[in-house]
Amino acid sequence: MRNILNIFKNELTHNFRSAKSMSMMILLPIVFMLILGSALSKNFTPTMNKMEAIYTIQSDKEMSSTFENFIKSAKQNGLTFNKVNSEKEGFDSIKNKKNICYVKISGNPCKIEFYKNARFSFEADFAEISLSTFVQRYNALSEIKKVNPTAYYRSISNNSLDFVKVETLAGKKTPDSKSYYGLTMLTMIIFYAMYSGTFSIKREKYSRTGTRLICSPISKHEILVGKIIGGLLITILQIAIVFLFSIYIQGAYWGTHIGIIILILLSEAIAALSIGIGVSFIFKTDAAIYGILNIIPMLFSFLGGAFFSIDGFSKILVKIADISPIRWVNQSITGIVYNNDYSKVPATLAINLGIAIIFIAISSYLFKKEALQP
């Protein structure tokens, strides 16, 4: 235990004294946050286009009448429905981006189909949610009519009947640019802790001190654990500064569940440090090591949506992006902050800690006595 503490203290001293890398790890994400957060703020503010939808209806009279009521109700919320004569006209209109969506009502029992143009995603989402509310209520009223017709007619004559409820859309919050880049820059820079991990081992090679470590009465596990804990504390300090900056200067929103968010961020730091240490053992040449250090954090950051969300790209790319632990971290935290959604947290923690275990095991296995020597 004392030896772990000695290695840990040595790591801290070295990191604190390399002011250049310390300041880079803090200043870089802050500068990125400021630049990207302000330069791309417009891309994160939903601007409403004119909400004009079209529809065709080939259904019974009752459905037509109910849908007319829905159209009136929707109009009060700025969503206009215009009837077109044919399906073809409806589809062409969507393709040509003239309207935000096309609703096709046909058959008996009635079937409602919804087509939207991706260009108007926000407006179309609004229309879809409104229509979904309408369908739910229509189904409910149909059931009421079957068992209690009196109650049904009382319901449809009730002026307060509102087919459009917009609470669902308003409740689905999304981050603004400051919050988005506050998160993504922080998770990106945490992954750069890979460098700390690698250099904590490389330092012993460059300064030839690995020889002394191996000759001294200290085990390889004490060396590895001391180095990981030392690197982790430095990373925590860097995270804390960037995190506080994002809240108090940048104005990023981190929600109210800070504890679990910090836990996720720590798991990412442990994974990054472990990968960094592992890389220094797996790859023998400096060229290979620097190649990995330059590529992996940047690639994972990109796939994780560090600079822009890749969710709008092809499905294949989105699937590939799941290899990035940063993406899992970003999605978990976004889910917690904006939707109170914890579903991705266990998987994210498991991925990060799993990566850490694998790379520490590899490092331990490859920790031959020659490994620390120049």
């Binding site: 070295h14 001190t209 002394r212 470590l213 000759c215 009465p217 006595k369």
Partner: protein, 311 residues
């Protein structure tokens, strides 16, 4: 008491036998010189003693305890001065010594006192707060030694501790080695400078091709070469010297040339001094000085290994 006992030590790297079944013993209080040309196997022996390499065969006892069975004990009792300077540039001199000493269980006031003591020993006490990046090569070498001393090891292994430093620092280091020895430390010392080995070592082992080919005190080793004497010829210029022609003279065994002095090692049984002088006069090479000497350690080494120590 035997501080080091090596029996049948063998180490192979692939098909190459780096150390071939060697055995040697080092008594307490010795300064044991390990000599050999490059590739002789001395670094391999030192690396095995230091736990940097695993042996393939054999037994090593440090202070009468098996190095394999009790590696913690042997590590605690050994101080390593590696050939490459092994210090952190980002730590001060005192921090360097304290860090490495802390790995040997020292802590608190004792750790600091012993570390300062080690720095004082190598003449760096007044530089304890300075960083090695501002040190000369000699000062770094001295700090390299201090890092091996603070835990007061019984055995200190010094692998070429004076490489590439100024005469003043070299002298300081040699005096330090003697002082450590006087304090009871046993020292294993390797060097490419024969005069250092001759000056400080109480026992010398010459290795070649992975084997110990000779062992003893300086006098004992010099006595091995009983059938050789040396003629030292100092000339104005060596530009016209043809080594091969000199070697053709009857009885000449080997030639060493340093500056303007030619050392001709010759068989004692052959009186060839007149022929040697004739070579110089017929080639119009002016002789400034000429003397006949008994073989020294360098001659012994050259005769046994066929190479000079610095080759």
């Amino acid at each position: 008491m035997k501080v080091v006992k090596i029996e049948g030590l063998t180490k192979k790297f692939g098909d190459v036998i780096a150390v071939d079944n060697i055995s040697l013993e080092i008594e307490k209080g010795e300064i044991y010189g390990l000599l050999g040309p490059n590739g002789a196997g001395k670094s391999t022996v030192i690396n095995i003693l230091s736990s940097l390499l695993q042996m393939d065969k054999g037994k090593i006892h440090i202070l009468e305890r098996d190095i394999k069975k009790d590696s913690y004990f042997s590590k605690m009792n050994i101080g390593i001065v590696p050939q490459d300077i092994a210090i952190y540039e980002e730590l001060s001199a005192l921090e360097n010594v304290m860090f490495f000493a802390s790995l040997y269980g020292l802590k608190g006031i004792e750790l600091k006192e012993r570390s300062i003591e080690a720095l004082e020993f190598v003449g760096l006490k007044d530089k304890k707060k300075d960083f090695p990046k501002n040190f000369s090569g000699g000062m770094k070498r001295r700090l390299n030694i201090a890092c091996a001393l603070a835990h007061r090891p019984n055995l200190i292994i010094m692998d070429e501790p004076t490489v590439g430093i100024d005469p003043q620092s070299r002298n300081h280091i040699l005096q330090s080695v003697k002082k450590l020895n006087e304090m009871g430390c046993t020292i294993i010392y390797t060097s490419h400078y024969m005069e250092e080995v001759e000056e400080i070592c109480t026992k010398i082992s010459i290795m070649d091709h992975g084997k110990v080919i000779a062992e003893g005190t300086k006098e004992e080793l010099e006595a091995i070469i009983t059938n050789t004497n040396s003629i030292l010829v100092t000339v104005d210029s060596i530009t016209r010297i043809d080594e091969n022609k000199l070697k053709e003279i009857n009885g000449v065994l080997s030639i060493e040339i340093e500056d303007n002095t030619i050392k001709i090692n010759s068989s004692k049984d052959v009186n060839n001094l007149d022929k040697v002088i004739l070579y110089f006069t017929t080639n119009n090479i002016a002789i400034k000085n000429l003397e006949s000497t008994s073989p020294d350690l360098e001659t012994v080494f050259l005769t046994l290994t066929g190479r000079k120590l610095r080759d």
